[in-house]
Symmetry: C2
Subunit: 221 residues, 2 copies
């Protein structure tokens, strides 16, 4: 009942906002109802625009979904790059970084990923559409992890192994949460992993040239 919110936005503004509302709605619905449970109708409704507007902005449902995923990933890449500076300045331990990555992935990112992975697997067009963003995402991960391992004088190549293992572990954990609801299980696993990484990083410190010896922290008691 206030004044009508029509401060004469420019075409570009109107267009950008509508487009963004559609992208956000698509990601939200993919997360909440799944890709299969998300029709273009649902997306338009959630975005608060007509289905006509949706078709005006996106050639097909597939293109909208892909654009929404790209948008989501680009935002997360932004968060990552911002966190990376903190890591570079030594303000983040490996423990904190791992928690950060798990947080980012389990917030929405990997659940949404699980929604579209099947489509990506069976639809080559869709998959190629996503490859560039995914590469940017991987590059951002390499970058932030490189900041960490560099501090420990670890060779980039060896560091990347730790990153890949860490990310795959996190992916697997999140997939597992769907059929196994057991928070302590995941807490414990993540703590175990943080300790492993800590040990590996410590072992990389180039102090003596001899064989690398490291104490493995006790787990689970």
């Amino acid at each position: 009942m206030a004044q009508q919110p029509k401060p004469r936005r420019s075409q570009a503004e109107r267009s950008a906002e509508t487009r963004q509302r559609l992208l956000d709605a698509a990601v939200t619905l993919m997360h909440e109802r799944g890709l299969a449970g998300t029709s273009t109708n649902d997306i338009a409704e959630t975005a608060g625009v007509s289905r006509g507007a949706l078709t005006h902005h996106f050639e097909s449902r597939e293109e909208l979904i892909a654009a929404a995923i790209e948008d989501m990933l680009d935002k997360v890449i932004g968060e990552l790059k911002s966190y990376a500076t903190r890591v570079a300045e030594g303000e983040s331990s490996s423990d904190a970084l791992i928690e950060f990555l798990y947080g980012v992935m389990s917030d929405r990112l990997f659940y949404v990923t699980l929604e579209y992975l099947p489509e990506a697997r069976h639809n080559a067009m869709f998959r190629s559409r996503l490859v560039p963003v995914v590469s940017r995402w991987h590059a951002a991960l390499d970058e932030i992890w490189g900041e960490l391992t560099a501090r420990y004088g670890m060779k980039p190549e060896a560091g990347r192994d730790l990153l890949n293992a860490t990310m795959c572990l996190i992916r697997g954990m999140i997939a597992q949460t769907i059929l196994r609801d057991d928070p302590p299980y995941y807490r414990r696993l993540l703590d175990f992993w943080k300790a492993s990484i800590r040990a590996q990083l410590a072992a990389a410190r180039p102090e003596r040239g001899g064989p690398r010896i490291v104490t493995i922290p006790l787990r689970g008691q």
Copy 2:
């Protein structure tokens, strides 16, 4: 053009075979075309039976899919139990066991799992329908892994952490293969992990009661 294959099978035989053909077709199609790309029509056609036969055996598409998943899992559980005896008799190293698990998961199991995880996440009925089989699957994993860790005198609790990490890593790796086609990446990661597990098991050998020290194998050169 041979003789007609109608040696007067019993009802139970006819029924069981048709049912099995449907289950097999469902799993095959889930793997090849994805869950979303698999209609009951497709399943009946692939199974070589009519859609009427399908509806006769399964109340709904959802029930058929669930039954197919259960069947697939039960078969894999069988393979696992059979391999477990080999482990118990010391005929399998940790390296071999990890390769075996990766092989089982990446053959079809986890790709099919990725197909139905979204449905399981959003459909509570479907999820509860699967929980019992999934529990049996986890129990079989615990059993086979227990055979291994017991040989090293590792406490079951600590051993389970290694199993969970191993399985989650494998899950994450397989999910990753969809958007990143890079066999050396996965080969390297798995080798890295086998070495880690080897070291952890060796460290668990109860020789001295002192702090556990273990050499970390060099990676990547």
